[in-house]
């Protein structure tokens, strides 16, 4: 399966994420959109990793090598970091709700001061 398909799917996912972040006001949805973007990147990493591994195998048949799995390792890292981020982010949203009884990000304009 050509890598182009993966790229288009990732691009679509990423764009959905970006538009979501830009247009939605609900903090939780914004948060979810960020997760979508992260996963779009993950998808790309896996796709390219697989592609490169195949390319290496074709160039030097018979050799056993770990080349090409670095990208897949990265994905694991991103997942771990994303999990940590989710816990922090959700905590922030909970605190926000407790304080202003809303999760609308337009209320979060105090950065100006």
């Amino acid at each position: 399966m050509p890598v182009n398909y993966y790229i288009f799917v990732a691009l679509a996912l990423f764009s959905i994420g970006v538009v979501g972040v830009l247009t939605r006001r609900n903090a939780i949805i914004v948060f979810m959109c960020i997760e979508i973007m992260l996963n779009a990147v993950n998808l790309l990493l896996v796709a390219f990793s697989k592609m490169h591994a195949a390319a290496y195998a074709a160039a030097a048949p018979g050799t056993v090598s770990g080349t090409g799995i670095d990208g897949q390792l990265f994905v694991f890292f991103i997942m771990v970091v994303a999990a940590a981020e989710v816990s922090v982010g959700l905590a922030i949203i909970v605190m926000m709700y407790r304080n202003i009884h809303s999760v609308d990000i337009n209320f979060l304009n105090r950065l100006k001061h």
């Binding site: 830009l22 990000i105 979060l108 950065l111 001061h113």
Partner: protein, 626 residues
């Protein structure tokens, strides 16, 4: 030559440092003694040097390397030769007498100012000595500038009076114009010969290396310098205004020493000047024009010092006339006799002003001869000397100049003769109005009239004696064979000059001049023995207002420059440069005020901007950067 030469300028410098730095501690007596003593020391050493030089011991004393780059070596060196020796004696000798005189004349000043005055005087003498002692043009230039600075300081000595300050500034600016000529001439020499040492510049091969144009330009530039220092047309107007300084200062700077620097420069460079005919013509005509102009102005002046100031300008014109004729010895001779009698006249006028309690207008004097016999008598000798009455020093030096003028150019000679008559007239007008007739001042001044103290009369007497005997060092050949001692003495520097006219002619010239002078004296006596109120005609007004030269300069130079300054101030500076600077500031302020609105605190807009940035980077990366 031993290094003792260095002591000549160093002693006055020492005096300047002591008087200048300790002026608050020193008593007046101490300041006076230090000021005069150092100059006396310099005079004694100069005398020894003079005896050495007479015995043929001339030479260069190299003290230390001064400027040295590439092939150009300019050492800090002193040259002692015949010309320098004479100038040294004039400067330190007359300078010493003026210092002594000043101790009495300036006695009403407070102690710190008194010491400041003597510090300036000493610095002035130091600069002048440096000027004549330097063995190259650069050292001379140091002295040249120092003299200009000191004249500024001394003219503006009473700095609380803004008019005096203006006179000081005028003198400084006028001198600076001349100095530019000096600098350019030195640079020209450096560019062509890469040396400025006298001996090398005047050597046969250097002179050969210079083209005719080079020599003309260099000499003309030097002459521009000389017109500044020696108050010639067009830069003479500072000298009469410089009378704002104390009277002894006028005597020292504006009669005896500083103004003769220009003559020294030309006489020193005579080898080059002799080869530049154009320059010589210009010098002669400028000299004679200055002499005539200043003499006519002096006839109508009523300020005792102004008359003397214009007479100085006029006599300097005479000297330049002689230089233009190639009669360098005659010019140096006149410098010397003029130093004696003009210092005498200035100091005499100082004595008069002292007695009159500061009054300088001769219309309010009269009959002073009865009250101040010594001043009157010495002043009379000064007048006789400057008028050129036979047996007085002025006769010999003026005669030498007139003779060379007669020989070269009859028109110039005629004008010079007219100037001699005018000189006699205004000097005796001054003498009669001041010392003869009846007193015209207030009763209080009349009561106060007195002869000046000994410290003032003694220099007058010494100078009077010098004014009489000073001329006998250069008696014309027609009287005594070998009488021209000065000419022979200066022969190594200035080639001897023989006159090509018969003895009968020479006698006739002298007789004619003497007769003219005698007639003018009698005329002046008949006109001014009793004072009458004068009403001026058109010409009289013109002369009294100095031909309106100051006004002319004001209109054609000062005002356009002021206008230009105003233009650059308002247009270039304020609406040009200032506007650019302010504009940059304002643009930044305006821009940041607009950019500030971006920081709205809306997280959404931040993210949008971030994305926009990212997109921009992508576009750059993939589409624009190839």
């Amino acid at each position: 030559m031993s290094k003792i030469v260095a002591l000549v300028p160093l002693l006055p410098l020492l005096g300047f440092l002591i008087n200048g730095l300790l002026r608050k501690q020193l008593s007046k007596t101490a300041a006076g003694i230090i000021g005069s003593g150092t100059v006396l020391g310099a005079f004694i050493i100069s005398l020894l040097l003079f005896i050495d030089v007479r015995n043929g011991k001339t030479g260069v004393v190299e003290l230390f390397p001064f400027i040295s780059f590439d092939t150009v070596k300019i050492p800090f060196a002193f040259l002692v030769d015949q010309l320098t020796a004479i100038y040294l004696l004039i400067i330190t000798g007359v300078g010493f007498l003026i210092h002594v005189y000043s101790t009495a004349y300036m006695h009403d000043e407070e102690a710190p100012h008194f010491a400041r005055y003597f510090a300036y005087l000493n610095l002035f003498v130091f600069s002048m000595l440096l000027l004549v002692l330097g063995a190259n043009y650069v050292i001379m230039f140091i002295g040249w500038e120092g003299v200009g600075l000191c004249s500024y300081l001394l003219i503006g000595y009473w700095f609380k009076n803004p008019q005096y300050n203006n006179a000081a500034k005028k003198a400084f600016v006028m001198n600076r114009i001349g100095d530019l000529g000096f600098l350019l001439a030195v640079f020209w020499l450096l560019a062509k010969l890469s040396t400025v040492t006298y001996g090398e510049v005047f050597s046969a091969e250097s002179v050969k290396a210079l083209s005719k144009t080079d020599i003309t330009i260099i000499t003309l530039l030097f002459f521009v310098a000389a017109t500044g220092k020696s108050a010639q047309i067009p830069l003479y107007t500072w000298l009469p205004d410089a009378m704002a300084g104390p009277t002894p200062v006028s005597a020292l700077i504006h009669a005896a020493t500083m103004v003769t620097a220009g003559i020294y420069l030309v006489a020193r460079t005579n080898i080059l000047f002799s080869m530049a005919e154009t320059t010589q013509h210009i010098i002669a005509w400028v000299g004679v024009a200055t002499a005539l102009l200043a003499a006519t102005i002096a006839v109508k002046q009523n300020d005792i010092k102004k008359v003397l100031a214009y007479s100085t300008v006029s006599q300097l014109g005479y000297m330049f006339l002689a230089l233009g004729m190639g009669a360098y010895t005659a010019a140096v001779f006149h410098v010397m006799t003029h130093a004696f009698f003009k210092a005498l006249l200035f100091l005499g006028s100082g004595s008069v002003i002292h007695a009159m309690g500061g009054e300088q207008d001769i219309r309010k004097m009269g009959g002073l001869g009865k009250h101040m016999k010594i001043t009157y008598f010495t002043f009379l000798i000064g007048c006789l000397a400057i008028a050129g009455v036979p047996l007085f020093s002025g006769f010999f030096s003026k005669d030498a100049i007139l003779l060379s003028a007669y020989e070269h150019n009859k028109i110039i000679w005629g004008i010079a003769l007219l100037v001699a008559a005018l000189t006699t007239f205004y000097m005796f007008r001054l003498l009669f109005l001041t010392f003869k007739g009846s007193f015209r001042g207030t009763e209080e001044q009349h009561h106060h009239l007195h002869e000046s103290p000994r410290a003032m009369t003694l220099p007058l007497i010494v100078l009077a004696i010098l004014s009489i005997i000073g001329g006998y060092i250069s008696v014309p050949e027609v009287f005594i064979a070998g009488g021209d001692q000065l000419g022979e003495f200066l022969a190594p520097i200035i080639p001897l000059h023989t006159h090509a006219i018969t003895h009968a002619e020479e006698y006739a010239l002298m007789g004619g001049t003497t007769l003219l002078v005698a007639i003018v004296i009698v005329f002046a006596w008949s006109k001014y023995k009793t004072y009458k109120e004068e009403t001026n005609g058109a010409l009289g007004n013109l002369l009294e207002n100095k031909w309106y030269v100051d006004e002319l300069y004001n209109t054609i130079i000062v005002k356009p420059i002021n206008w230009l300054a105003g233009f650059t101030d308002t247009v270039l500076e304020r609406s040009g440069i200032d506007a650019i600077v302010n504009g940059v500031g304002k643009a930044v302020q305006y821009g940041s005020r607009q950019l500030r609105l971006l920081q709205s605190g809306q997280v959404g807009s931040y993210v949008l901007l971030m994305i926009a940035g990212m997109v921009l980077l992508f576009v750059l990366q993939f589409f624009l950067k190839k």
